[in-house]
């Protein structure tokens, strides 16, 4: 659900990335064009169209050179290179994400691109001085209150954290973890089994694939407790479960109604017996009254009577 909801946002990101990539070094234009793009009503259509906008942006490019700022306020070549690379990797990652959106494979497919994106961002945001004693962190990340580069990156970071991909990827973004690989192979077995019986009778499928499905379920719940899960695994498990229970209708039937009703009515009957028997057989608790001594002389009470009347 949320991916579906998020998709316009993703598209927007993609758009802004395109704009950014095509106008490296000219911040004004970049945000300008991004604004323009974001106004376009049919967002998905724009993705396809975006190359068309490129020439337009290019034409603005030349126009903007005339009104550039003096040297010392501009960012250095080194930083603009970094920004350029950042843009490229960003595009690559977002591209990858969009294609892996449904069914979710964002961790399996895009971990390497995310790794490189993270790399370059770390370069940008690091304290170390580049050549010419310039720190790109200040000029790129903190010069304006929009902080576009930071914003873009943090969006991607959010997606990465939300999908908990860390759990499925080895350190250093080398490959998928063994657990994940094992899960995928188990999943594949189950799916193959499903495919085999898909045409025929579903009851047969329920019987023959049960073992594979159960193994998969068990593996999943193990991984659930071990915290070795990412969105890919969850999603594929969801799909499989839905196949199993909705499409193939293999859930447990409710067939024990009579014994359950019998046992529960017996249980509900017990307190009635208990209260009845304790009412009938238990001795009622009585309290012994004690009469405190009071002084009430005739005269005083007469006084009260006078007072009252």
């Amino acid at each position: 659900m949320s991916l579906y909801k998020n998709s316009p946002f993703l598209v927007l990101l993609v758009l802004s990335t395109y704009a950014l990539a095509s106008s490296v070094g000219v911040n004004l234009t970049a945000s300008d064009s991004a604004d323009r793009l974001s106004l376009s009503p049919a967002a998905p259509a724009v993705v396809v169209d975006s190359p068309v906008f490129k020439p337009g942006v290019d034409s603005l490019f030349s126009l903007n050179l005339l009104s550039s700022f003096p040297e010392d306020l501009e960012i250095s070549d080194y930083c603009s290179d970094l920004l350029h690379i950042f843009g490229q990797r960003y595009v690559a990652y977002v591209n990858c994400l969009v294609t892996a959106a449904r069914p979710v494979k964002v961790c399996q497919n895009c971990f390497s691109t995310y790794g490189s994106l993270m790399n370059i961002y770390n370069n940008i945001s690091s304290d170390e001085m580049g050549p010419g004693n310039v720190s790109c962190r200040d000029s790129l990340l903190r010069s304006d209150h929009l902080m576009l580069v930071y914003l873009l990156y943090s969006n991607m970071e959010d997606i990465w954290t939300k999908s908990s991909c860390v759990n499925c990827i080895t350190k250093g973004f080398q490959s998928l973890t063994n657990d994940t690989l094992y899960f995928i192979s188990t999943l594949n077995q189950t799916l193959t089994c499903f495919e085999k019986y898909q045409q025929g009778n579903h009851t047969e499928l329920c019987k023959d694939c049960k073992n594979a499905y159960r193994d998969l379920n068990e593996l999943y719940s193990r991984m659930e407790t071990n915290l070795t899960m990412c969105i890919d695994i969850e999603d594929s498990m969801n799909m499989t479960r839905r196949l199993w229970s909705k499409n193939f209708n293999c859930s447990f039937p409710r067939e024990e109604t009579v014994p359950v009703i019998a046992v529960s009515s017996f249980m509900l009957f017990l307190p009635i017996i208990f209260y009845l028997s304790s009412f009938l057989h238990s001795e009622q608790k009585k309290r012994k009254l004690i009469h405190p001594k009071r002084a009430k002389s005739y005269t005083t009470l007469m006084n009260i009577q006078d007072k009252l009347s």
Binding site: M1, S2, K5, T161, K162, N217, S221, E224, T225, L227, I231, E234, D235, M237, N238, R241, R242, W244, S245, S251, F252, P253, R254, E255, E256, P259, V260, V263, S264, M267, L268, L270, P271, F274, Y275, F279, S282, Q284, K285, K286, R287, K288, L289, I290, H291, P292, K293, R294, A295, K296, S297, Y298, T300, L301, M302, I304, Q305, K307, L308, S309
Partner: protein
């Protein structure tokens, strides 16, 4: 007025028949029945001068003979006062020893006392927090193990069939755990049953409830709470925290434990009722604060319940104890949740955060909230009424410990059965979806990513994960895989977690039918459970009932208004409903408002919660009293309310007081004293000391006399043994609070002839009133000064009577005007 005249007539006859000797005890039930009592006849209420339509003359003649026989027995009812409750000595005994000690004490000594008060409060807070933490962790761990067992069993049987066996297993498991809790309560410490709030209310009011603040009670209470919550009863662990805090306070401030026979020789100055009471109110506040994460609410609770004895410094100290307690709990829970140092999750129950836009409220919703308050008041009154009948039945018929244990077990089994059946037959399958946000890993709730079927597992809460996954697999019963049964989440979680999910789950999580059924069953289960012989509170069940119907209300509201879905967030209405229900049941006012506001952590909810609680109280009070007051009444406690009953100004001290009074001479024979003290038919605690002829010169307490007898402070002995150590205040403190009974003190025949000089030990300036003082005036003195005995004197300072707490508490305003309660044994 006619009645008065009649009363006059039989009173005077009583005067003739009853012989008032000089040493006759105050309450002399068995031998000299008062004719005035005959008016009560079969009923239990004796009406004073109002609306009495009984034909008096006939009554007297017919009843006279039977009355002279053995004492009358009546079934237990709410209009009784029990003799077993005594008063606490909140009034300082200013005798010569006390003055001497004060004179000896240096300036530094007083400073040290002040500092040690602070230290004691800190300790109270710390230990209360620790106990709360222990209960919390124990419940989570044990419930986890239990759920694991049932879960595996159900999973097994869902597949191969035979779910009725799982049902039996679940019921048996629950009832055996509850049995354990009920056994320790019923057989070892019955006072630990229930939430303990009524008992603490009584203690702060000045009633000495036997064994209420003992270490044994604390142990039983803590274990009992763990058992009943783990046993799956419809109870909470919050109420008992208040009792636990009070016991901790009473123990710590004394610097010793009489149960363990350890004396640390510290805080000896605090060994008297006045000081102890202050600390107990601090302990109760610390308990509230640990239970709800509401330090201010705790202070206000102590203020509301103990309001008559109060000063600013005490408030400040109590606040200190509350803060320490909530943050101790916090700190240790953060360690338990492997997040040490995180101090931002106070309280055993946490309502979660109400911060998003959807839970903002608007002016036009206020009438709706007030309406919900009225509903809460009605439902609360119904709850209290049902519980009242049930409690009367329990007191009359289910009084044997083994029956009580059986009853508790049955309730546990039925609770499990009902839950199971409802889950079994529920078709309300919802996609899985709850998850934690990583920013607040300890908070179960807040946001939902909408990945269908995603079950997030917190890295920090292995147990939450266990429980959640449990409810998932259970509910999966007949739902499609990857979906859960929303009935199961409501029933199968610990109540605290269910409350939170009702507050915060996104709209559409529960369908109206599920909620309706849940409210109905849980209402009756909770009502049935409260008053069992298990220690457990009623806060959480009330919140849960209220949250369920509040959410239902919100859903219905959203469905009948066209634009409803925008502002009618069900979570918000669940909160209001919870407040309304809780207010309707317990009828607390200021402190409950602040507790709720603090627990939600959102001050802007102050206004609606206050309005709701006000409405609930007004509506509920129209029908029946609050639950705690009902239970106080049913236990026949002589509880002094804020004010004397209205329309009682015409009663004077003369009618109210007990008379004649057992007085002692200033120099009294030991034999006489021993005889008076050992008279079993009376159990007087205060004796006016007189000089002949009957002029009042002081007041002495039973406990003091016993200490004097024990140390043999006789005039003759003092003469013979010149070196004898002079008795000090310390000797009295050492005996406190469990003074030995008179039977354990041996006085030889020779010693009986000795004399005892009481001058030094008696309180030389007891409070006195003239005979014509009106009841409300006497009442005010008692309530404001925390008196135990008030001597009534005539114009020549001669003792004519003695007013005690029971004499005042018997008057109450019933449906037919002023009524008088009767005094009963035990």
């Amino acid at each position: 007025m006619a009645n008065i005249a009649k009363k006059v007539s039989w009173s005077s006859r009583a005067e003739e028949s009853g012989v008032a000797g000089e040493r006759t005890p105050l309450f002399n039930g068995s031998e000299q029945p008062r004719l005035s009592r005959q008016l009560s006849g079969g009923g239990s209420v004796f009406q004073i001068g109002r609306l009495s339509t009984v034909d008096l003359e006939e009554e007297i003649t017919s009843d006279e003979d039977s009355q002279r026989g053995r004492p009358k027995e009546i079934p237990h009812n709410e209009k009784l006062l029990s003799l077993k409750y005594e008063s606490l000595d909140y009034d300082n005994i200013e005798n010569q020893l006390f003055l001497e000690e004060e004179r000896r004490m240096s300036y530094m000594g007083f400073r040290c006392l002040e500092i040690s008060r602070w230290v004691v409060c800190g300790l109270i807070g710390f230990l209360t927090g620790l106990i709360a933490c222990f209960i919390d962790i124990a419940v989570e761990e044990l419930a986890g193990i239990k759920y694991q067992v049932v879960k595996q069993n159900i999973e097994k049987f869902t597949e191969v069939g035979g779910l009725s066996i799982s049902l039996i297993l679940w019921a048996v498991l629950n009832s055996s755990i509850v049995m354990l809790g009920a056994i320790i309560v019923a057989f070892f410490e019955p006072i630990a049953a229930g939430s303990g709030i009524p008992q603490i209310k009584c203690y702060l009011n000045g009633v000495k409830i036997p064994r209420v603040v003992r270490l044994k009670t604390l142990v039983v209470k803590v274990c009992g709470v763990i058992c009943s919550v783990v046993g799956g009863l419809a109870v909470g662990k919050e109420g008992p925290m208040i009792h636990s805090g009070a016991v901790v306070a009473a123990g710590v401030s004394q610097g010793r434990s009489t149960s363990l026979k350890r004396d640390f020789k510290i805080f000896e100055y605090f060994r008297r009722d006045t000081e102890k009471r202050d600390f107990v109110s601090a302990g109760a506040a610390a308990g509230v604060s640990a239970a709800f994460g509401a330090p201010v609410g705790g202070v206000l609770f102590a203020l509301e319940e103990g309001a008559s004895f109060w000063n600013q410094m005490l408030t400040w100290r109590i606040f200190f104890a509350s803060m320490i307690s909530t943050f101790t709990l916090n700190f240790f829970l953060s360690i338990y949740h492997k997040n040490p140092g995180d101090l931002s999750n106070p309280g055993l129950i946490n309502f979660g955060r109400f911060e998003s836009d959807s839970v903002a409220y608007n002016l036009y919703e206020i009438p709706l909230f007030i309406m919900m308050g009225a509903i809460g008041g009605l439902l609360g009154a119904l709850f209290n009424l049902l519980n009242y009948w049930l409690t009367i039945f329990r007191i009359r018929y289910v009084h044997r410990p083994c029956l009580q244990v059986m009853e508790a077990m049955l309730v546990a089994a039925v609770t499990a059965t009902v839950s199971f059946t409802m889950i079994y037959f529920s078709n309300d399958c919802q996609p899985l979806g709850p998850e934690h946000t990583e920013e607040y890993p300890l908070q179960v709730h807040t946001q939902y990513t909408q990945h269908e079927g995603r079950l997030f597992v917190s890295p920090l809460l292995p147990l939450v994960e266990l429980l959640l996954s449990f409810s998932v697999s259970l509910s999966q019963l007949f739902c499609a895989d990857g979906e859960y049964n929303s009935m199961a989440t409501a029933f199968f979680n610990t109540p605290e977690r269910s409350v939170r999910s009702l507050f915060h789950n996104q709209p559409g999580t529960y369908n109206p039918l599920t909620l309706g059924l849940f409210t109905l069953t849980y209402f009756f289960l909770a009502c049935w459970t409260y008053g069992l012989a298990v220690s457990a509170g009623v806060f959480i069940p009330s919140l849960l009932i209220g949250a369920a119907w509040g959410r239902l209300f919100g859903i219905l509201l959203a469905s009948i208004t066209s634009s409803g879905s925008i502002w009618a967030d069900p979570g918000k209405y669940a909160l209001i409903g919870a407040a309304a229900q809780l207010g309707g049941i317990v009828r607390m006012t200021l402190s409950l408002t602040v507790i709720m506001v603090e627990a939600t952590g959102n001050v802007t909810y102050g206004l609606p919660i206050m309005l709701v609680l006000m409405t609930a109280k007004i509506v509920g009070d129209y029908f029946v009293e609050g639950l705690y007051d009902i239970h106080i009444k049913l236990q026949s406690v002589p509880f002094l309310h804020l004010e004397a009953p209205a329309t009682s100004h015409w009663l004077t001290a003369r009618e109210v007081m007990g008379s004649p009074v057992t007085c002692l001479n200033r120099i009294e024979k030991v034999g006489t004293i021993v005889d008076i003290l050992s008279n079993t038919s009376t159990n007087h605690n205060g004796f006016p000391v007189v000089v002949q002829p009957a002029k009042l010169c002081g007041l002495i307490l039973r406990s003091q006399l016993i200490v004097l007898l024990k140390h043999k402070v006789f005039v003759e002995l003092a003469r013979s043994r010149l070196t004898q150590r002079k008795l000090q205040l310390k000797d009295f403190r050492d005996a406190y609070p469990r003074f030995p009974p008179i039977q354990s003190i041996h006085v030889s025949q020779d010693e009986r002839e000795c004399m005892m000089d009481l001058t030094e030990f008696m309180n030389a300036t007891p409070y006195t009133v003239p005979q014509e003082t009106s009841l409300p005036r006497v009442f005010k003195l008692f309530r404001a000064l925390g008196l135990r005995h008030l001597v009534v004197v005539d114009d020549e300072n001669r003792v004519v009577g003695l007013v005690t707490r029971k004499d005042l508490a018997r008057y109450h305003l019933g449906k037919h005007g002023l009524e008088e309660l009767q005094v009963a044994q035990t």
